[in-house]
């Protein structure tokens, strides 16, 4: 394709081709600190292309294609091309990754041990992991936690964090401007601004950690901690996984080991400061 860009995020390489220069330029900036895929060969290809020739110039809109595609994925305006690339990369991971059990979760690491935060969008797991990543934890990812079925270790997928709506101000107030991409207003998910993880988190993106605690956060409630039965954890993690079924027996092994060996709690929190305090308290208790 006319414009292209390659990047490695954690254990996976991506090749992104585009019919326009702008999204590629934005990716180059956002991923400046990231390495290239091993041997220059990507695991997945993403294509950002016009739906028809005409749409290359006329009200250009970006269709997200690639190795794996959704037949009903709506195109995005060209100004949100970098978001299209990110969605394309997520889609390849969700549908194509066969070497790890993928949990729709954010994760952070301390002392070689991983904390996994999983929940619906709006649970605040993304913001929470971004914040913890600036407060003594290593940021491992805000979208996918990758569980190796053989070793049970969690591998990082530390792509830039997509902050949404109110979360944007929380982080831009705390960090210098060069840690952020441009503001993307009015996307299908509201306002989005990408935050580049700490350099040390990117540098350690191939270093795994042993899962030590799984939390299911819920934002907007009075602070609370709730015990969870093994079956509830099991079922909620299968729902949080994009490839549990596709992995077959290896998926079952990875998940049943995780559920039987790692403590899990549901937490409610009214604001991020409360959440950080809760996380620290539980971490001290269970690790």
């Amino acid at each position: 394709m006319k414009h292209h860009f390659s990047v490695a995020v954690g254990p996976t390489g991506f090749r992104i081709g585009a019919a326009w220069r702008a999204p590629i330029a934005a990716l180059e900036q956002l991923y400046a600190a990231y390495p290239k895929p091993e041997e220059g060969l990507a695991d997945f290809t993403v294509r950002l292309e016009p739906q028809t020739r005409l749409r290359l110039w006329l009200r250009p809109s970006v269709a997200i294609n690639g190795d794996f595609m959704l037949p009903d994925a709506l195109p995005l305006p060209l100004a949100q091309g970098v978001l299209a690339a990110e969605m394309g990369m997520n889609l390849q991971m969700a549908m194509g990754q066969r070497h790890f059990l993928l949990l729709h979760a954010s994760s952070v690491e301390r002392d070689g041990k991983a904390l996994i935060l999983t929940g619906e969008s709006g649970s605040g797991k993304s913001t929470l992991s971004a914040l913890l990543g600036e407060r003594g934890w290593r940021f491992m990812g805000d979208e996918f936690a990758l569980i190796d079925p053989v070793s049970g270790l969690a591998y990082p997928f530390p792509r830039p964090i997509s902050l949404k709506n109110e979360a944007i101000a929380v982080m831009t107030d705390a960090l210098p401007a060069d840690r952020f991409g441009p503001l993307l207003p009015g996307t299908p998910k509201g306002d989005i601004r990408h935050m580049i993880p700490a350099f040390s988190a990117i540098a350690a993106m191939s270093v795994p950690a042993r899962p030590a605690l799984i939390l299911f956060p819920r934002f907007g409630y009075a602070a609370d901690v709730r015990d969870m039965g093994g079956s509830e954890v099991f079922v909620r993690l299968t729902q949080a996984s994009t490839n549990y079924v596709a992995l077959g027996e290896r998926g079952f092994d990875a998940l049943s080991n995780l559920v039987t060996q790692v403590p899990a709690r549901a937490i409610d929190y009214p604001d991020t400061e409360n959440a950080v305090a809760l996380v620290e308290k539980l971490w001290a208790e269970y690790t």
């Binding site: 090749r15 091993e38 220059g40 060969l41 695991d43 066969r98 079924v245 596709a246």
Partner: protein
């Protein structure tokens, strides 16, 4: 190594035919090969072909992933067949597995690494109502309650409207012959069923020769030739599995004639031989015809980014595929109905 410019899927067909050719690839060549294979739904087959050949670690990771996917797909396909078998067992009618599921159920090379979609079965036409009732009482439901589609399927097509299982979310296509009733070629469905081969579990596959005839019918008449490369690869593998059996080519010739597909068989054999170096009987393949080059162009229309190329040629084949299946007036009606709804 120099920059490899990949303008079509010839790279894929060449490596499938002779896997050691992959040794010459640089990273761009590998990227193109893997992307094209994925786009043509042949990545699992490619992974299987490249087993035992040294490949770069990152290519190996992609290929290993494709092997694992194919393994899961195989389990799921065989389970769907088993669930259909259980649902239809009380009817005591032959249930013939078609396409990918048949290949894995019979342990054929064509099934190795193959991506398998829906479950396709062939049953005798006079059993169609009973089959439909049995499947519906075992949890399969109509996909689209659209009356136009339903009437269209029932009147003109060679299958029931697709059914989806309400719990497993999997689709089954129940055929009573292998081409639409409107097609000018009319395969002999009774002969397909009479010569079917019984598997250990009581399900059936088509005879080796009919399997190839079905692959040809599927390639030329069932769609616009997109995904045709995989069809041809199925054919290559079926031929390599079966052609050493005594009298294979003679039987194939008889069967092709019986189903009215002699010319199509010849062209498919020529394409197979050209793209995959398949050993074919020269008298059946016949001599090259002018149209072959357009077919090859259409089959290989895919660049190193996985994009389809040659839009004009593709459109010509799309119209042509409907032309084959339907008399002209009906075609106008069909395209109009499709257009009106989209």
């Amino acid at each position: 190594m120099g920059r490899i410019y990949v303008k079509d899927a010839r790279l894929l067909s060449a490596v499938l035919a002779q896997p050691t050719r992959a040794a010459a690839l640089n990273p761009q060549g590998w990227a193109a090969l893997l992307t094209i294979a994925q786009a043509e739904r042949l990545l699992g087959s490619l992974a299987h072909r490249l087993t035992g050949i040294t490949v770069p670690p990152s290519a190996k990771r992609v290929l290993d992933g494709a092997r694992l996917s194919a393994e899961t797909g195989r389990t799921q396909a065989l389970w769907e067949a088993e669930m259909a078998r259980r649902a239809l067992a009380p009817l005591n009618c032959p249930v013939i597995l078609l396409k990918g599921t048949a290949f894995v159920a019979a342990g054929l090379s064509a099934g190795q690494g193959r991506q398998i979609g829906d479950l396709d079965i062939l049953v005798p036409r006079d059993q169609l109502d009973a089959v439909e009732t049995a499947l519906r009482s075992a949890g399969w439901e109509w996909v689209k309650p659209d009356p136009y589609d339903d009437a269209y399927y029932r009147t003109y097509m060679h299958e029931l409207p697709p059914l989806i299982h309400r719990d497993r979310d999997t689709m089954i296509d129940v055929h009573h012959t292998i081409l639409p009733l409107t097609a000018r070629i009319t395969p002999d469905a009774a002969a397909l069923i009479a010569d079917a081969v019984r598997l250990e579990n009581g399900l059936y596959t088509l005879s080796p020769e009919d399997m190839l005839v079905h692959a040809v019918a599927h390639l030329f008449a069932d769609g616009d030739l997109s995904g045709g490369l995989r069809n041809l690869w199925d054919m290559d593998q079926l031929i390599r599995d079966h052609s050493s059996t005594e009298g294979y080519w003679g039987r194939l010739q008889t069967r092709s004639a019986r189903h009215g597909m002699t010319k199509h068989m010849s062209r498919a054999l020529r394409l197979c031989h050209h793209l995959f170096e398949t050993p074919v009987a020269a008298d059946l393949a016949g001599t090259a015809r002018r149209g072959d080059i357009f077919y090859r162009g259409r089959l290989l229309a895919r660049n190193g980014w996985g994009q389809q190329t040659q839009a004009l040629l593709r459109f010509a084949f799309y119209v042509r595929s409907h032309w084959i299946r339907m008399p002209p007036l009906m075609l106008a009606r069909h395209l109009w109905a499709k257009g009106r709804r989209s």
